[in-house]
Symmetry: C2
Subunit: 152 residues, 2 copies
DNA sequence: CCAATGAGTAGCAAATTGCAACCAAAATGA
DNA sequence: TCATTTTGGTTGCAATTTGCTACTCATTGG
């Protein structure tokens, strides 16, 4: 499978050398990651996404089109007539880690101690342990034990 | 350190029970995560952020105020006069994992094979290994070996 | 003293979002 | 069979958000 830059014709990057900025240019708007979250949770049809997110339909049309254009969703017309299915591509499925990181941060910092929230569990029904960035030798790292090399 | 819900008065959640949605409500706009990225990379003053991101100054004023309000940045007036320093709170520093996940996805999917980009390295100068969600026993998981429990 | 810098505001234009109404093809159901 | 609902949109318009340019006003630095 040949890898191409997913940038659509005419699009320009906010900060071309930064992978964080490119990711945000691709999926960093208010709705895209919620659409992707729902796709990971089984949504396929236009109306699935509409009902789960509550997004306006013209905006949903536009976001689905853009996510297809950018290689994150694949649009499949069901053999029987007119129903469209939007399914995650490999790149889309790979956003799993980003969604998990966002979910875990939200659990830690966006809920009061007693508030209920949905939980992501493995096949045994147990919650996933927390993601933890490590260095090349497996030791935990954080903001002040890492740095960004701005050249190559 | 008492934990409070960071929601400012009058704000309402897109999807109150979903930690992903709450995280996006707090930092999911076009600029906030780039501001946080720059804070992690040493930016402190208003103009640091303005030059690194290229954001409009009135929007930057607004985003910094919101991030302070939401407990992600702390605003410190330097003892000497007018200079303000914006530094990450503990919750802000904890977004490191989210930024790393976004960065690594971008590296994998938003660059053509030959394109150069900045790199995040540990104290030894080696690139961080890829984050990998696992189940409760340390086995790798992905979209189809996990599920979201929508109750509690 | 005078210029430059830091941290904003204010006013307005352009772009993006959201709402409500409309539409046509296909599936459903009485 | 034939009306109704569902699906996947489009269109027009209003409200909101963004970005640009020009202004402040208080320090610093020389």
């Amino acid at each position: 499978m040949a890898r191409t830059a997913p940038r659509a014709e005419g699009m320009s990057w906010t900060d071309p050398a930064c992978p964080v900025a490119r990711t945000l240019d691709l999926v960093g708007d208010r709705w895209s990651l919620l659409i992707i979250r729902d796709a990971m949770d089984g949504a396929r049809a236009f109306t699935d996404f509409q009902h789960r997110t509550g997004i306006a339909r013209n905006i949903l049309t536009d976001r689905l089109r853009r996510l297809v254009e950018r290689g994150i969703l694949d649009r499949q017309t069901a053999p029987t007539g007119r129903r469209q299915n939007y399914v995650l591509t490999e790149a889309g499925r790979d956003l799993f880690t980003v969604i998990v990181a966002a979910r875990q941060w939200g659990e830690r910092h966006a809920f009061a101690p007693a508030e209920a929230h949905s939980v992501l569990v493995d096949e045994g029904g147990l919650p996933l342990p927390e993601l933890r960035p490590t260095d090349a030798h497996g030791r935990p790292v954080d903001v002040d034990t890492t740095s960004v090399l701005h050249d190559r």
